[in-house]
Symmetry: C2
Subunit: 343 residues, 2 copies
Amino acid sequence: MLAEFDLIRRYFMSSQEAMTASNGVALGCGDDATLLVPQAGQQLAVSVDTSVVDVHFPREAPAFAVGHRALAVALSDLAAMGATSRWCLMALTFDQRHFDSDDAAHRWLADYARGFHALNQQHATTLVGGDVTSGALSIGVTVMGEVPAGKALTRGGARAGDLIAVTGALGGGAGGLALWKQGERDLAHPLLSRYLLPQPRLAAGLALRGLATAALDISDGLLADLAHLREASQVGAVLDIAALPLAEGLESALGQKAALQAALSGGDDYELLVTLSRDNLAQARQRLAPLGLALTVIGRCCEALGVSVSDQTDLGGTDLGGKDLGGYVSGYAGWQHFSGEAP
Amino acid sequence: MLAEFDLIRRYFMSSQEAMTASNGVALGCGDDATLLVPQAGQQLAVSVDTSVVDVHFPREAPAFAVGHRALAVALSDLAAMGATSRWCLMALTFDQRHFDSDDAAHRWLADYARGFHALNQQHATTLVGGDVTSGALSIGVTVMGEVPAGKALTRGGARAGDLIAVTGALGGGAGGLALWKQGERDLAHPLLSRYLLPQPRLAAGLALRGLATAALDISDGLLADLAHLREASQVGAVLDIAALPLAEGLESALGQKAALQAALSGGDDYELLVTLSRDNLAQARQRLAPLGLALTVIGRCCEALGVSVSDQTDLGGTDLGGKDLGGYVSGYAGWQHFSGEAP
C-alpha cells in the first residue's frame, strides 16, 4: 500500500526546488498551508474544477493526458479572465485497487504527474498545494492567477453591436470523444489531441485584454456558453452558422451535420468566446497571430434577447436550410457536466 | 436530473449577497473565475483537503455534518498557520443515484449546504468558487487565509527546550468514530460531535501567533503529527503520556488503554499541537482562556532526535508500565488517510 506522504513527496513535490521568492512562494509545500505573496495592485483570480473518471475523461485515457487535462480545464478559466496564471493546488483521489500491482500504480502516478507538471511549466504555474486521498479517481484543481485591478475580462461586458468571435477552431473536443468511442487511441490524432490534451488559451486571454468587451471559455459547448455570456451581459446574439471554424478533420471524421453539431453543442473545446467592437478586430487578430491562433467572427450581439441565426444569404456555401439551422440552435442546450453524458 | 448550474445557484450562491468589497471580493461567483483583493502586507495561506465518503466520513453521516466537516478539516490547516480565514472554494462530487428521488437529493444538498455555510459564517469566510460534478461522493475544499508577512506559525520553528502543548482534548475524533461504528447516532454526544463536527481552532491559532515557536493541527494522530513537527524542526521529543488531556467521556466509553491509544494515534482531533518556550506558557494560556480552550503541556523538545516517553515517576497516577508506553509510542504511526483505514 502506498502511503500518502510518500506519494505526495515522490510525485508532486519535485517542483519544490522551483519554489522561490520569484514565484511568489514564501513557504512551499510541506507545512499545513503554503504561503504566497500576491503582487501589489493585482487582483487574484481563483477557480476550481473537478475532473471525474468516466464523466470528464475515459478510465482508459493515458495517465499523462489525465494529468494534463485536469489542469488544462482549470487554467482555461484563468485564460477566460485575461489573468496570468501563477499557482495551483491539486487534490487527487485515486483508487489503488484499480491496478494490478504497486508498480503499475506507481507508473500511472508518474505519468500523471508528468502530464500535470509539463503543462504547469509551460504556463509558469507553480504547484503549491496538494492532497492525495483514496477513492474513485477524480482530480480537483484550484488555479490562482493575477490580473491588474479593473483589467479582467468578464462575461458581463458585451454590448449590442459588438462582434462575437472565437479563438482557434470548434468541435474538436466532441469530435475527439466520438473518435475515442470508436476505438481511436493515437494521441497524435488532431481531434483526439483536442479532446484529451486541450490547450488553455492563456496567452490569448492576455492578448485580448483591453480589446475584448467580454470573454469566457467554451467548456459546455458554444451555445450553452454563449447563453451564459448573453445572460451576464443582457444582450442577444445573431450567429452566422456558416462562419463557425470547424476543427481540422472534423467534417471528414463525423460528416457535415454531426460536425456542425459538435461545434455548436459539443463541450470541451476550451477555446475563448469573446465579444469586441468591430474597430478592435484587426488589432486583436494582430495580437493573436504570433500565437498561431485565428480569431473568427461568428456573429454579433444585438439588443433583442435570445439567440437567432443569420438567414441563408449569409451562410455561404453550406447546403443546410434555415429550418435545420433553427433546429440546431434550439435543440442543443450544450453539455451539462452534471448529467455525465455527452449531449 | 438536477442540472449543475441550478444546483450551484440554488444551494451555494446564497452567500452571493454577502460578497462585498469588505470581504475582499471584487467579482463574485458566476464568472469563469472569482476576483479577490488580497490585503497589502499580508501573505496568502492556501491549502486543499479532500473528504471522501467511506474514507473520511461514513456514508450515512448526516449531510449537515458532511458539509461542516469537509470545511472544518480544511480550515484547521489555516488555524495551524495562525492565519485569518478569508475565502474558500468547494468542489462537490455527488452521486444522485444514491438517492431515491430528486427530492431526497435536494434535501441532502440543502442540509449539506447549511452545514458548510454555517461554519463559513462562524469564521467570516466567504465561499468564492465552486464546482459540482457527478460521481462518488467527495468534497474538495480549498481554503485561503491571510497572515502578516513573517508572522505565520510553521512546523519548523521548534527548538530543544521548548515545551510541547496541545489545545483542548485528544482522542475524541477516534473515540467518536468507534462509537459511530457501535451504532451511536446522536450528534449531541460529545465524542460523536468531536468526530463529525470538529471545530477548527482558528481563534487559537491567531492567539498563539508570536508565542508558539511551531504549530500544526492534529489530523493524522498526535504521534504522526509530532513526527512531522520533529522532522521539520529537527528536534526530538519527550512525551509525558500521563499528561495527555483525554476527551470528555473517552475513558468510560473505550476503556483506559484504548482511550490512550486514541489520544496518541487516533486521527481527526483537529486540535493544535504547538511548541513554545516555558516563559510564554502563562501568556498563551491567558490568551486561550477567553476561548474556553485549555493549553496542556504534554512534553518537551530535546536535541536527541526521535521520540521517547518520560519515565514512570513522571506519569502520575496511571498504572501503565514503561514497557507498555514504549509499545504505544513505537507501535502507532498515526492515521494514514491513504490507507482508508483507521489505525
